[in-house]
């Protein structure tokens, strides 16, 4: 898996959470919660989907690492052991 794959997976899952918005156009450095108007339930659903799809654990204490699109990709790449 590459960073591009993670990018695509994240866009896909964000699209499922907020189908009314275009996840591929999200500002990669903005807060996802505000960019896509997602709440704690949406966020929990996103984390659930990502852990199942990528077979990794995302502890609650790490949630702040997923605040923006770019940070989320960095975090997931690191959890999956993918180099920069």
């Amino acid at each position: 898996m590459t960073r591009d794959d993670i990018n695509a997976i994240l866009i896909d899952e964000l699209g499922r959470i907020a189908p009314e918005t275009d996840a591929s156009r999200v500002d990669p450095n903005a807060e996802l919660r505000e960019e896509l108007d997602i709440d704690s339930m949406d966020f929990l659903n996103l984390v659930t989907a990502l852990t199942e799809r990528l077979a990794i654990d995302i502890p609650e204490i790490d949630y702040p690492s997923l605040a923006t699109f770019n940070h989320a990709v960095d975090y997931l790449a690191q959890r999956l052991g993918i180099a920069e």
């Binding site: 009314e20 918005t21 108007d37 709440d39 704690s40 339930m41 929990l44 984390v47 659930t48 199942e52």
Partner: protein
Amino acid sequence: MGEFRMPSLGADMEAGTLVEWLKRPGDPVRRGDIVAVVETQKGAIEIDIFEDGVIERWLVEPGTTVPVGTPLALIAGAQPAVVAKVLEVPATPAAPAPAASPRVEPPPAAGRARASPAARRLASERGVALSGLSGSGPGGAILYADVERAAAGAASGPALTKRLDLKEMRRAIAAAMARSKREIPHYYLSTTIDLTRALAWLEAANATRSPAQRLLLAALLLKGVARALGEAPEFNGFFTAEGFQLGSGIHIGTAIAIRGGGLIAPAIRDADKLPLDELMARLRDLVTRARRGALRSSELSDPTITVTNLGERGVETVFGVIYPPQVALVGFGMPVERPWVVAGKIAARHVLTTTLAADHRASDGHRGALFLADIDRRLQSPEKL
């Protein structure tokens, strides 16, 4: 012989359009079965039945708009007239009653496909774009069979059609809230709850759970309200022409914001009796279905009180507007870290502003204060919720 009637899905609903029958004459039905789909201001709603029996015959054809309370079907083997639950809504003497003639169904707005919930579910499962389908139902509505046919053909993109009509929803909210402000003598109370223990308990509980099993603070708050309502029945029920009527259970309407504007508050039934994990699972399911526009009629007509949680967007205090004919609304703001005095010393604590808007015809501020204090007390022992 019983009658299955057009239910009232809120104080603002006068009529509904039957879109689709999901049971045929001769079909046995059980309490909770989804029998029909009705188009309302809140979108297409699945109507469930409240009695066991057998569908004797249909009285209304799909595509027909009928006033609330109109018999839609005859049910054999059921108690007369109690088959479909119809919420008693008092007349509104303060304002001239709007014309009761059924509305003419407007043509579907461009870009929004009309489809039954079953059809939408199937479409979303099979990745069929509803916008590309022509429906064989009333007014061109897309039915289950249409999607089945399309799914059997070429697989198309996973376009998810927006199924909630936000304009209609805004009108429904406007009608209900205007009536609330016109008729209900609200009183408001506020208290600040120290959430430190509840948040610590939640963090510890979630640390050992997979995301699918994790709890949100909202579940704890709902359970706290539900348990406290057991001791404060005058906040749980309806105010009708006969005066205050106790709810038949503690069914908490949970305000859910719809992206792009709009709000809906379907019920979590018997929230006081649900274990926390079960309550969380129900909440998760309800939020998902509310945003997809796939709620059931009983979920909209059942709430005996509403809880709103506006903390997500950073506000600290909610001044609630009661959803008639309910008599109370509990509002939670955002948990914030504040200097707080604990055992004579200043400490940093997470606190939550909790408010009550209540109907003065049904209760007084003294009882309201005890109710809020009881919610506080219960949230100090989250392990017991």
